[in-house]
C-alpha cells in the first residue's frame, strides 16, 4: 500500500527511518529494536519479499564489513568493537530503508520529488544519467562475461574467477570512459551548454 502514498510522504518516511536508524545509540537495545521493527513493518506493508532484501544485503555486507573491521583493529578494547557493531547495524538498517524507497517509488518520481525539494540540478543530472547507463554498462559486462566463459572450457578455480573479474572491471572502466566521451559529444551536438534544461523544465509537466 506504500506504493500509492504521495511522493513526498514516501521520501520523508525513508529519511525519517534512516535518521532514526543512525541517531539511536546502539547501547539502547530496545530503541534499536523498535526502529528495526518499523523498517521491517514498512517492507511488509509494501509487500517487498524478505528474501529479496536478504539477497541484496548479502552483496552489501562484505563491503560494510570491510569498512567496519578497521575500527576494532585500530581502537583498543571494547570501544572498537562497539563501533564495529554500530556500523554494521546502522548500515544494514539504512540500506534496507533505501531498498524500500527505490521499490515503492519509480525512479523518475524520486527525481521529480528531489527536484521539488531544490536538490541541485547537477546532482539530479548525475543521478539521471547514472540510472540510464547503469543498464547499458550491465549489458556490456554481461556480454564480456559470456564471451569469456565461451572460451573457458572448464570450471575456473576461485583464483581465476577473481582474476578475470578484475580484468573485466578494468576493461569496463575504459569502455565506460570512452562511452562517456561519446555521450558528451552527443549532448554537445544537440546544443547542450552545461545547463540541465531537460531536468529544469520538464519534470513538472510531462505527458
Amino acid at each position: 500500500m506504500c506504493h500509492r502514498w504521495p511522493p513526498f510522504a514516501k521520501l520523508f518516511a525513508a529519511i525519517a527511518m534512516i535518521l532514526a536508524a543512525t541517531c539511536v545509540p546502539i547501547t539502547h537495545g530496545p530503541l534499536v529494536g523498535i526502529v528495526a521493527c518499523v523498517i521491517f513493518f514498512a517492507h511488509t506493508l509494501a509487500r517487498i519479499p524478505l528474501a529479496y532484501v536478504g539477497r541484496r544485503l548479502l552483496f552489501f555486507w562484505p563491503t560494510l564489513f570491510l569498512m567496519a573491521i578497521s575500527l576494532p583493529l585500530s581502537q583498543a578494547g571494547q570501544k572498537g568493537w562497539l563501533l564495529f557493531v554500530t556500523i554494521l547495524v546502522r548500515g544494514t538498517l539504512s540500506f534496507s530503508t533505501a531498498l524500500w524507497l527505490v521499490n515503492v517509488m519509480p525512479f523518475d518520481q524520486l527525481l521529480a520529488t528531489l527536484r521539488r525539494l531544490r536538490v541541485p540540478d547537477v546532482l539530479l543530472a548525475i543521478l539521471s544519467l547514472m540510472y540510464r547507463f547503469l543498464f547499458v554498462l550491465w549489458d556490456e559486462l554481461d556480454r564480456m562475461r559470456i564471451a569469456r566463459s565461451a572460451r573457458l572450457f572448464r570450471k575456473p578455480s576461485l583464483w581465476e574467477t577473481w582474476r578475470s573479474a578484475a580484468h573485466l572491471v578494468g576493461r569496463l572502466l575504459i569502455r565506460a570512459l570512452d562511452r562517456a566521451d561519446r555521450i558528451h559529444g552527443a549532448m554537445l551536438s544537440r546544443g547542450w551548454d552545461g545547463r540541465s534544461r531537460w531536468i529544469e523544465q520538464l519534470r513538472e509537466d510531462r505527458p
Partner: protein, 255 residues
C-alpha cells in the same frame, strides 16, 4: 539522380583542404576538399579506419577538440564557418546521428530525449512539446513519448535518436553508420525516413546497396585521403577502383 546540383551560390557544406591528426599520432585526414549542395545526399564510403567518422565529427565541430577562435574557413555550413564563436549556430544546422543509439539516448524517457535539443535551442515548453510530437510522427513513432528509453528495440532506438535530431530542424544530416546491425525491416524503415528529409545528408556506411538506393554522389575515403568523388554509379560501379580500396561493387550495379 546522378547529376550534381552544385553551384557556387548555394553550398550546404564546404570543406577545403582539411587535415587532422590526434596529438602525437599519424595523420588521420589529409587534405580533404568537397562540397555538398542543398538537398544532396552523399554516401561516404571506405574501409574501416579510413577516417569516415573522424571526418563527420569535423562537420559539427566535435573535432578538433580545440576549435580555433578565428575562422580559418576550412569548413563551412550554409556559409557559416565552423569556429568557436559560431559553434552553436553550426550545431543547430548540422544534425548528427551517432552509430550507437545508446550514446545518444541519455534521458529516461523518449519525450525528454527528443525534447533535449529544442529546449537547448531556447524553445518554450509548448513549442518543444509540439516539436517532439511532430518529429516522433515523422519517424513513425507517434505516441512513444512516455516510453522508457531502456525498453526499445534497436530500430526504435535509432528512430528516436533521429527524431531527437529532427527536432532541432537541421539543414544538414551527418549520419555515422545508421544501418549497422539493423534487421531488413528496420533498415527499410530508416531508408524511407531519410528519403523524406528535405535537407542535405552525408551518410558514412558500409551498406553500399543503400548508397545506390539513396545517394546522389559518393565520396570514397581510404587512409585518410579522398580517393574518388563522383556520381554513385560511376564510383561504386568501377570494379578496379572498388577492389583497390577494399570494397566490393554492390550487387545492383554488377554486370
Amino acid at each position: 539522380m546522378t547529376d550534381s546540383k552544385v553551384t557556387p551560390a548555394s553550398v550546404a557544406v564546404r570543406v577545403e583542404r582539411l587535415s587532422f591528426r590526434y596529438p602525437g599520432g599519424p595523420d588521420v585526414l589529409t587534405d580533404i576538399s568537397f562540397t555538398i549542395a542543398p538537398g544532396e545526399i552523399i554516401g561516404l564510403v571506405g574501409p574501416s579506419g579510413a577516417g569516415k567518422s573522424t571526418l563527420l565529427q569535423h562537420l559539427n565541430g566535435l573535432l578538433p577538440s580545440k576549435l580555433s577562435d578565428t575562422s580559418t574557413n576550412v569548413i563551412s555550413i550554409d556559409g557559416v564557418p565552423v569556429s568557436q564563436p559560431t559553434i552553436s549556430e553550426v550545431r543547430r544546422r548540422v544534425g548528427f546521428l551517432f552509430q550507437d543509439p545508446d550514446d545518444q539516448l541519455f534521458c529516461p524517457t523518449v519525450f525528454e530525449d527528443v525534447a533535449f535539443g529544442p529546449l537547448n535551442l531556447g524553445l518554450t515548453n509548448d513549442d518543444a512539446r509540439q516539436r517532439v510530437c511532430d518529429s516522433l510522427a515523422s519517424v513513425g513513432l507517434a505516441g512513444y513519448e512516455p516510453r522508457s528509453t531502456l525498453r526499445l528495440s534497436l530500430g526504435e532506438r535509432k528512430r528516436v535518436c533521429l527524431a531527437g535530431v529532427f527536432a532541432c530542424q537541421p539543414s544538414v544530416l551527418a549520419l555515422d553508420e545508421p544501418f549497422s546491425s539493423l534487421d531488413p525491416r528496420a533498415r527499410r524503415t530508416l531508408i524511407g525516413i531519410l528519403k523524406q528529409f528535405s535537407g542535405s545528408q552525408i551518410i558514412a556506411t558500409h551498406d553500399l546497396d543503400v548508397v545506390v538506393d539513396l545517394c546522389h554522389r559518393v565520396l570514397l575515403l581510404d587512409g585518410g585521403q579522398l580517393r574518388a568523388a563522383g556520381p554513385t554509379a560511376d564510383i561504386l560501379g568501377n570494379a578496379a577502383l572498388m577492389e583497390r580500396h577494399g570494397l566490393e561493387v554492390p550487387w545492383r550495379l554488377r554486370r
